[in-house]
Amino acid sequence: MPKRIFLSFIFALATVGLFGLAFAKDAVPLADDPVTEQRLIVISEEMRCLVCQNESLAGSRSDLANDLRREIRILIKEGKTDEQIRSFMVERYGDFVLYRPPVKPITWLLWIGPFVILLAGIIGLMIYLRRRNQSVPSTTLSEEDNRRIDALLKDTKSSSTENTHD
């Protein structure tokens, strides 16, 4: 009996070991020096992965993202500036790869659109409020009204105290 338990234990260990191997194979080699890696992260976090468009180039595990990170590492090692690396990417994939596309006529709507809508909303609200103010005539209360208010207030006060006694 103990032998069987021992064997299954060994088997379990081997299975875990195999899984470990499988994952180890997936790990992507980092550049040798941390400085390059740091710059790579800063640059690629500002870029969109084209395969899985909701992920950044830094975070994506797609094959293309791996290849592009490899290319960016090479460019960093060649001593290219961040600007040169960005234009390397834009020349191939367009402004779409940049999370912050440059401000130019085609992206004006993208950049100022939200502010235009906000401004339109504020103006609309102001016009509406001003009109409503004008349409509600201010009235002064008569003696009779005041007496009725007092009576009503007294009534609610006494009824609320009664309620608390219940």
Binding site: L50, V51, Q53, D63, L64, D67, L68, E71, V90, E91, R92, Y93, G94, D95, F96
Partner: protein, 174 residues
């Protein structure tokens, strides 16, 4: 002032308009900045014969089609019969770019499904693919006599696309 009740209706119509446009657009089709630009130069070994090389320079003087494919790509298998059809029409030479593939797998696929390519360049590590802005295989480029990219399609080409866009464009470029 009676038209006031129409305002929400109008806003709703505008919203529906935006959503309809959004739904009918494929966000994976990113307009390529390479259109109207010179096709990037490269020199790669040929798939069938590693000793021979191919460079786009050698295609100058006639319009041609560059088709990025791979044996591991399911959509390419789907597209392949359309390319075979196009090859039969002989409107323009089709050059393949075998992207991140294994030679024997690629050769096996061509043997199985037919070979519409004049030849295929073998891009083992995908470096040339990056220069062409490839991000979803298959991709198809139409390149003119002067070596300028005139058209790019991402995803499998269909008979409709061939008849409505690619063949008329090649006719213009002749």
């Amino acid at each position: 002032m009676k038209a006031k009740f129409l305002i929400p209706l109008l806003l709703f119509a505008i919203l529906v308009g935006f959503l309809a446009v959004g739904l009918n657009r494929d966000p994976h089709e990113v307009p390529s900045p390479l259109i109207g630009k010179q096709a990037p130069a490269f020199e790669l070994s040929q798939l069938a014969d590693p000793k021979k090389t191919f460079s786009p320079e050698s295609m100058k003087g006639k319009p041609w089609i560059l088709n990025v494919w791979a044996s591991w790509c399911v959509a390419c298998r789907e597209e392949h019969p359309v390319l075979v059809e196009l090859g039969k029409l002989q409107v323009a030479p089709i050059i393949g770019l075998d992207y991140k593939d294994k030679r024997e797998d690629a050769m096996a696929m061509l043997a199985r499904q037919g070979n519409p390519y004049l030849l295929s360049a073998f891009d083992a590590n995908g470096r040339v693919g990056i220069d062409y802005g490839v991000y979803g295989v298959p991709e198809t480029y139409v390149i003119d006599k002067a070596g300028v990219i005139r058209f790019k399609h991402i995803g499998p080409i269909t008979m409709e696309l061939l008849n409505q866009k690619i063949i008329p464009l090649l006719g213009e470029l002749q």
